[in-house]
């Protein structure tokens, strides 16, 4: 008759107990949060017993407040830079063959290509063959090896581009580098628990809780912060003037009408920096102190020794921030950047320089900021709505099914506890739609019990005795419960894989809610009904 084996009972109650234990920390949210922060910081953590689980449900940005950015990395920029850097090699090998290929000259190429005009177009095949010798092997998609460059020609122009395999490899490197630098910059700013993820081929998702505006975040990560030290050839006020081959025209940051003609090849770049700190110059103006690594220090020392009395330019993101004259050889490997800064700017610049420069620029496709107050309002409103809906369902169930309704209610309370326990265990994020998912689960979770109870009512009319009716009720309702919940679970799963951000949070709570509600309906209420039945041994039954 109505029986559940002892080990099954232990298993069911143990599952509930473990789930509820994991949900427990969420009841003391701020306390546990402080405890976890202290633990992460390596300090002695107080205020929460260390033998208890301390995992919390993460709050999404819409509840906690913070900034969300979706950026696209301009991968193609790196191709151009790569080929630019390839030019000296190409020039050298072609120069050696000058007698056959004739004079060579770099042309303005399109995006992602290097164009070289050669004097004797008849010798193009020969030139292409020479340039091809520079190719390095990269592993291709099919697993074999292929060249990293593709050499072709149009008329008297020899064109070098990156091969597809090399582009893919470059993309991966660029993305990894960008993510790393963004992470460092965000960490430098001291914000907590940022999310920085690669999405698709060229996108980066950045979420920083507790940040007041997306603008702050954009300032921090959107700036390439490409620092170079370049030789100054001259100055001009003509923005359309030609700089000459190998040179470039760069605007001054302080004076919009002033342009510097600079040698394109930098003396030293920001990559050689090991440290940068905000400081003040001898006039008390905010400035940035920097230190080079050994190779940077050597190059910079050599250059300053050779060019005393000449100006050199400090260029940041295509603007000359200052162009001091070299007073003496700087061999110590450290120096100071002065410019028209205030303290905030010098602090930000030093942060950016420390973290390194982005390999390519970022374009922002999506940005969202939610203030912490709005998030808190949403949490409060969500809590009240949950409570009221919860109580309404509890009362309604008790009125409809009496004792059995009470069992369903206890199961429902355990159910909500289990949802929070699971959310904490897997470290899922709770969003505002996620709260809606919980409320919906509260409403729908009783469905399985309703199916069972209605079935018991029906069986009572025909079956022999209450025990048999209960047994048949559970047995016959099972297929409907399983089928109905699998279909809902399928839609939740699709929502999870297709949806973004907050909607995903909804799919998670809905999906978990389905699992826990089936568990509580099939096992938890059943065990309660069985225990009650063994205790009361009723002759008749009213459901």
């Amino acid at each position: 008759m109505l029986q559940i084996e002892g080990w099954k009972r232990v298993l069911i109650w143990a599952t509930c107990a473990i789930g509820l234990l994991f949900a427990l920390p969420n009841g003391f949210y701020s306390k546990v949060e402080t405890y976890n922060d202290a633990k992460d910081a390596g300090a002695e953590a107080m205020g929460w017993p260390s033998f208890l689980p301390s995992g919390l449900v993460n709050l999404g940005l819409d509840l906690r407040g913070g900034a969300h950015l979706l950026g696209e990395v301009k991968l193609a920029e790196v191709y151009t830079t790569r080929l630019e850097g390839f030019w000296p090699e190409v020039r050298n090998v072609l120069r050696e063959e000058r007698s056959t290929v004739g004079a060579i000259r770099q042309q303005d190429g399109g995006e992602g290509e290097l164009r070289v005009r050669i004097g004797n177009p008849e010798a193009m095949d020969h030139a292409m063959k020479i340039v091809r010798t520079l190719a390095r092997p990269v592993s291709s998609l099919s697993g074999g090896l292929t060249d990293d460059i593709v050499v072709s020609s149009v008329g008297d122009n020899l064109i070098v581009t990156l091969s597809e395999a090399e582009k893919l490899a470059t993309d991966d490197r660029t993305m990894a580098q960008s993510l790393e630098i963004i992470r460092r910059r965000v960490d430098e700013a001291g914000t907590r628990e940022p999310t920085i993820q690669r999405q698709g081929t060229d996108r980066v998702l950045i979420q920083v809780p507790g940040l007041g505006s997306a603008q702050e975040l954009k300032d921090l990560i959107g700036t390439p912060a490409l620092l170079t030290f370049q030789t100054v050839v001259g100055q001009t006020s003509n923005s359309s003037g030609t700089a000459g081959i190998g040179n470039e025209l760069v605007q001054s940051a302080e004076n919009e009408t002033l342009y510097y003609v600079l040698e394109r090849a930098p003396v030293v770049t920001g990559e050689d920096l090991t440290d940068a700190q905000p400081s003040f110059d001898q006039n008390g103006q905010p400035a940035v102190n920097f230190r080079f690594n050994t190779s940077g220090a050597r190059k910079f020392g050599q250059y300053t020794t050779d060019h005393i009395g000449e100006p050199f330019a400090i260029v940041l993101d295509n603007q000359v921030i200052s162009a001091p004259t070299i007073q003496s050889a700087i061999t110590g490997g450290s120096g100071i950047i002065t410019g028209n800064f205030d303290v905030t700017e010098s602090t930000r610049l030093s942060t950016l320089l420390r973290a390194g420069s982005l390999p390519a620029s970022l374009e922002f496709l999506e940005e969202r900021t939610v203030g912490p107050e709005l998030g808190q309002d949403s949490i409060d409103a969500g809590k009240i709505a949950c409570m009221v809906g919860f109580v309404a369902v509890l009362i309604f169930m008790a009125m409809s099914y009496g004792t059995f309704g009470i069992f369903a209610n206890i199961a429902l309370i355990i159910n909500v506890g289990l949802i929070f326990g699971l959310l904490s265990m897997i470290g899922a994020t709770l969003t505002l739609p996620g709260i809606a998912g919980i409320v919906l689960t509260i409403g729908m979770a009783v469905d399985a019990n309703v199916l069972i109870f209605e079935r018991i009512r029906e069986e009572l009319k025909t079956a022999k005795g209450p025990a048999r009716a209960i047994e048949l009720g559970y047995e016959k309702a099972l297929s409907a419960i399983i089928d109905a919940n699998i279909t809902t679970f399928l839609t939740a799963a699709i929502l999870f894989f297709m949806g973004a951000g907050p909607v995903k949070g909804f799919a998670i709570t809905l999906g978990l809610g389905i699992i826990t509600s089936v568990f509580t309906a099939i096992f938890v209420t059943r065990i309660m009904v069985v225990i009650w039945f063994e205790w009361r041994k009723p002759k008749t039954l009213e459901v």
């Binding site: 496709l365 309604f396 739609p433 409320v439 809902t488």
Partner: protein, 307 residues
């Protein structure tokens, strides 16, 4: 004494007036499609691109003054709407400002937002901006695609599942009812011009799940009755099965609505549209699960026996 929503034993004949019910559903579906075609949907920035700014002030919102302050910035199409919610404090006045996606830009440049915020600060000193969201056209295009895809995949997956578990006629009936529910929901969003954004797609998919939940329960009973009463004809069986599950359908709909209505009233204005979609979906889904027998019988008219 127990609370009973539905009498213990019912013998409604849901098939008697099937022409009327099909007629009502057909009219509603046509109205929904008509409304969606003529009035369109009030797409949120998730799908259209653009920026929404939530502005909160301690003085009453003056929409005209806000508009006058923003218009000189030349941001194109702007809409300003005051937001009301019972949970607001007495001196909490909230407005939702929406700017169209700007030409040739992805997400709106922050300097535009800053200018706008400064302009509003002149009109309403002490105004704050608790949420600013901006979506570029590139992302919104993708979001539309993946949202539509999600709904289609959900319907397809469910169709396959029901086909595997039941008979193909059941799957056709279920999906017919499902499309009916979704079309009516989209129709109501168009008729009332409620903001249609990503969360609404989530609501639509939930409706898919809920509507099926009901259907599957009825089908499960039909399957059982088919085995038990070999002599009854199909429409009689369908009718009996709907009657037998009616009490459960009513109970579940009421508990779900109880929870959703409390969320609708107390859950704050941010998710009200989302919750409204689900409430509507539950109502429509319950209606169609009770009266969807017609669709099924239409699909299986010529078959004397199903199994």
């Amino acid at each position: 004494m127990r609370l009973r929503l539905v009498k213990q034993h019912t013998t409604f004949n849901f098939f008697k007036d099937w022409k009327i019910w099909i007629g009502i559903s057909a009219v509603l579906v046509i109205l929904s499609i008509g409304s969606t075609v003529t009035m369109g949907l009030n797409f949120g920035i998730d799908f259209k691109g653009g920026t929404t700014i939530r502005a909160e002030s301690t003085v009453a919102v003056d929409v005209a003054a806000y508009r006058a302050a923003i218009e000189p910035l030349g941001l194109g199409d702007i809409s300003i709407a005051e937001v009301f919610d019972p949970s607001f404090r007495a001196d909490q006045h909230v407005a939702q400002i929406r700017i169209q996606a700007q030409e040739g830009q992805e997400s709106v440049a922050s300097d535009v937002v800053l200018k706008l915020e400064a302009a509003l600060q002149d009109v309403a000193p002490g105004i704050t901006f608790p949420s600013v969201e901006s979506v570029g056209p590139k992302v919104s295009g993708e979001l539309i695609q993946s949202a539509a895809l999600a709904v289609v995949i959900a319907i397809a997956v469910v169709l396959i599942y029901i086909w595997l578990r039941f008979e193909w006629q059941f799957a056709v009936g279920a999906v017919g009812a499902l499309v009916h529910d979704i079309v009516l929901t989209i129709g109501v969003f168009s008729a009332l011009q409620i903001k249609f954004d990503l969360a609404i797609i989530a609501a639509l998919l939930t409706i898919v799940g809920y509507s099926l939940n009901d259907t599957v329960v009825v089908f499960d009973r039909v399957r059982e009755n088919l085995r038990r009463y070999k002599q009854k004809n199909l429409s009689e069986l369908l009718n009996q099965s709907i009657n037998e599950t009616l009490s459960r359908t009513a109970m579940t709909s009421v508990t779900t609505l109880l929870a959703l209505i409390s969320l609708f009233v107390l859950g704050g204005d941010v998710i009200r549209g989302f919750v409204f979609a689900m409430i509507w979906g539950v109502v429509v889904g319950t209606y169609s699960s009770v009266f969807r027998g017609q669709l099924n019988s239409a699909a299986t008219r010529r078959e004397a026996r199903l199994v």
